[in-house]
Symmetry: C2
Subunit: 325 residues, 2 copies
């Protein structure tokens, strides 16, 4: 018996990624606690007694999936680390240590790999944590390179995706959005410092990092029976999104909503606070921007967990979502 | 620039696994602490303050590398877990939680994967720990299945490979050795209970699990300037090794030394103790066997870190190592 099948109906490709994760979540249910202690949040939280909260996250960097030949090996190594750091940042944590596992076909280049580890080394040093172990194994007939990083961290207060947010709460985002394929997917800086600072603010209820694009990631922060009412003209659209728009024929907004790989933090702020106070305080500590982009609002069935243009009352339309079609 | 090369001299296959790990260890040196806090022991040890010692290990299970079509999916899932549990056992730890990462080509079978997770579930339940997160990603054009488990655990006293052992100390092993390809590589039970019990005995100085075979794993416990003097006739050779010998034309000893995948514990006991006392105490708590197989002894250059037949004073010869040629 092999792990593979010719029968289309039984192939994971037919099921799709979400279907697969749903299945796995179900299969794992008896041994996987609810989030944040199990599958379903940016990091797995493990109770470690008196040392605050231990965070654990694992992310992959696979050839032709997460990087291609436009990357230098250093950029590839750095990206493996930074993808994971972004998950730790989204919980308000600090990185503590990591293990790396490589899966390599026989024809992987040693000198390329050296560059890859240089990228890892520099990035881990920059963010002040250690690689505490790892594993290397052969895999794939040829032209296969896979890497996995399991990153552990700690947080005094771990900010979950679900922090009891409700209609009325504010929606904020760090940095700007869109145009990742113009270089940001290589040069981004994970929002570790910002995430920790935000976790110290008791008015911050929930947080997530934007990896698939605002249109896909924001709904994960919306409770049942709510939608997100956005001030479209306040949305921090990146210059790269505008540049990309010139050649793509799509609007800059479409790029900002759907490009993904922003690695910015999306934040829910308690409605019983003045967001201007937080924004003012923010500028005293951070160079990056923080923008109030909208609020959670009650929804009917047709608008549940959708993004609504506050100015026009319209669901932000398919035009903006064409990326996902 | 791609991770792959046509130039043989630059391929990892030319470098070999040990050469590669040496290189990686060097590349990582500034950010990887010495064992057990970094690369080089069965588990990575992370200081977690007041909760004893946090253990972390990562191991892979890749199609056609670590399992083949003689495995049921349940056996494959169980093996991924048990490989990692064996590393935790070798530190004297208890498992606490794990994250799983899958790398899958499009043609992986959903029903096969369900069986795989059933094996994971049953094994994790049996050993009482949780899967706290994971990642699934696409990889490989076709017929690719890769899985990685990062397992975290804790230990009141983590037993390292290097525990200050020296000439005169005793060498013991659990269970029996050899013949893994007759089923033990599927049915083995990681020595978690035994490992924890051994860690409670202050006379136990060092420990490792036998994965590559005694001939390859025992030298990792021998300090510089020492060798292992073994009582060959006391070596616990498995019935499967004897069976295998009938068809292979090799001696049962060769199989016991070199087959690997024994997942037994190899233990160094302080010489200032009576090993019979430990063996007697052992039988009160464990069904599996524990055998005194020899002692560490001083060596000259020609015998350093070699296995010596105590009865004949001969280095255990190439005949026993032919497996590695």
């Amino acid at each position: 018996m092999t792990p593979f099948t010719d029968q289309k109906a039984d192939q994971i490709a037919t099921l799709g990624e979400n279907g697969l994760i749903e299945k796995i979540t179900r299969w794992m249910e008896p041994i996987s606690p609810p989030p944040p202690f199990g599958i379903g949040d940016d990091c797995a939280v493990m109770d470690s007694g008196d040392v605050g909260t231990l965070l654990v996250t694992v992310d992959a960097l696979i050839w032709n999936e997460h990087f291609d030949d436009t990357f230098t090996p250093q950029e590839a190594g750095a990206k493996l680390i930074k993808r994971n750091l972004s998950d730790i940042a989204a919980m308000g944590g600090a990185p503590a240590g990591a293990v790396i596992a490589l899966t390599l076909s026989d024809d992987v280049s040693v000198s390329w790999l050296e560059g890859f580890y240089a990228g890892i080394r520099e990035t881990a040093q920059k963010w002040g944590f250690l690689i505490v172990g790892g594993d290397v194994t052969r895999g794939g007939a040829s032209n296969f390179f896979g890497s996995h990083l399991t990153l552990m961290g700690s947080a005094a207060r771990a900010i979950r995706r679900n922090g009891g947010q409700q209609a009325g709460d504010y929606i904020l985002v760090t940095g700007d959005l869109g145009g990742s394929r113009h270089g940001k997917e290589k040069t981004f800086s994970p929002r570790i410092t910002e995430g920790q600072w935000l976790a110290e603010q008791s008015v911050v209820k929930a947080m997530i990092d934007v990896t698939d694009g605002l249109a896909k990631d924001l709904p994960a922060l919306l409770p049942k029976g709510t939608c997100a009412r956005l001030n479209i003209d306040r949305l921090p659209i990146s210059q790269d999104a505008c540049k990309k728009s010139e050649s793509s024929g799509k609007t800059p907004l479409t790029h900002a909503l759907g490009d993904g790989e922003d690695y910015e933090l999306l934040i829910i702020l308690d409605q019983n606070t003045d967001p201007e106070l937080l924004l003012e305080e923010w500028t005293r500590f951070h160079k990056s921007s923080l923008t109030l982009i909208g609020r959670i609002a009650e929804s009917d069935e047709s608008t549940e967990r959708r993004l609504i243009d506050h100015a026009t009352d319209q669901i932000i339309t398919d035009e903006a979502f064409q990326h996902f079609r």
